[in-house]
């Protein structure tokens, strides 16, 4: 594609807003701006249309919500009681699974050894499997330390499920970080599995790499 000029006139913004509205309504899963742009006529700007749409649905029965790098329409939380028919019986997560999930979310990317260090017990295979199956966590990049352990990060599905715009919006994240509670401090005198400085550098990387692919 060498020609940059669109072949047809770009639809007016109000029309683009309608298109974004139709696409978001039709999809149960969040759509990225790229997804939308690909499906719209050339020259369209879904981001701008999306902002208009978002404002339009403020205070309505459904909202336009951000999920990581994607967007979705979701019902307003205060109307949940009307949807009892739609409620899926959710399997209750074990305490171990919930804690493991929280540790992955707040410490990502995090290795299994680190999760065990924080919880003080071994992480059972079933716990990780369950979280993977729910598609709330996925494998992140391998850690560049001896043994190259795999890391875990949370997914867009996790953000969607808990109504988080980004992983930075996790409740209390800032306070926890300020209190140093998200740092990995090995037991004094015992060389940790990895260098502490590396770990500190890793965290912002982890946050930004969350939705890279």
């Amino acid at each position: 594609m060498t020609d940059d000029a669109p072949l047809f006139p770009v639809p007016p913004l109000a029309e683009q807003e309608r298109m974004v509205e139709a696409m978001l309504f039709a999809s149960a899963a969040p759509l990225s701006l790229r997804d939308m742009e690909r499906r719209m006529p050339r020259g369209c700007d879904p981001a701008e249309a999306l902002m208009l749409l978002r404002r339009r649905y403020e205070g309505r029965g459904v909202h336009v919500t951000r999920v990581g790098d994607a967007w979705a329409i979701r019902t307003a939380p205060d109307l949940g009681h009307l949807m009892s028919h739609e409620t899926l019986e959710q399997k209750k997560l074990s305490r171990a699974a919930v804690e493991t999930l929280a540790i992955i979310a707040y410490h990502q990317p995090v290795t299994r050894a680190e999760i065990e260090e924080i919880r003080g017990v071994a992480v059972s295979r079933g716990t990780i499997d369950q979280l993977l199956e729910l598609e709330w966590i996925r494998l992140g990049r391998r850690r560049m330390t001896p043994g190259r352990p795999v890391t875990f990060v949370v997914t867009e599905g996790f953000l969607d499920h808990f109504g988080l715009e980004t992983a930075r919006d996790l409740p209390g994240l800032r306070e926890l970080r300020a209190a140093g509670l998200l740092d990995s401090k090995p037991l004094p005198g015992t060389p940790g599995p990895e260098d502490e400085e590396d770990e500190e550098d890793d965290i912002p990387v982890g946050q930004s790499e969350l939705f890279e692919d």
């Binding site: 979705a72 939380p77 949940g80 739609e86 924080i118 509670l181």
Partner: protein
Amino acid sequence: MADETHLFEATSVSERLAAEALIVDVDGFEGPLDLLLTLARTQKVDLRKISVLHLAEQYLVFVERAKALRIELAADYLVMAAWLAFLKSRLLLPPDPEAEGPSAEDLAAHLAFQLERLQAMREAAASLMARDQLGREFFARGEPQGIARVRRTEWRATLLDLMQAYARIRTRDEFRPYAFDRKDVYTLEQALDRLRTMIGFSGEWNELSAYLPEDWTADPARWRSATAATFLASLELAKQGQIEIRQRENFAPIAIRARTEPRDR
């Protein structure tokens, strides 16, 4: 040990029940750190101000007590007990400037950090689960269009198809079966018949156009059709060895004559 009273001679009934639960429910703890955190809470102070020495003593009492009640403790509880006994002795002794490795205070601070961090993660987990959740408080599109249908065959018919189909059936009698209109088409069969009959009477070269049926030469469409069919027929007869074909130059008239001698095969 004097500290034993702290845990097992609790004043209120509920505290005593809680203390007993600690013993009975030892399997309910997720490891020594979990137990330590529970014990630390009985100090009823900010985790940051916890007395690790006191905590170590509480833990050791707990382990002794469990042993007395013949409760099997997992190995990691005993490892922790040994480590805490060591830590306790270090904390009670004046620091040895010659000693290698981290100070007792460093070790105590790290244990306090671990407990605080575990507690923080538990609270984070609780606040996460207390959030509005998809499929519980808020909902996605119940009947997604498109994406959900991907990867399966979707039989399509439009309203127009439907109406046209109906119209087709209801007006079927108005149509005659479709047949190609042959009024102006001279067929290869006709040409072959005519050529076969006529060629036997002529041993001379005659232009192909002479073989066209008379009433097919006036109308251009009929003439074209008859010419094409006759030419094809001549090729067919030549192939069969019944006639010879000649053309002096490009676009010159084509002439044919009957073949007198059989072609050598």
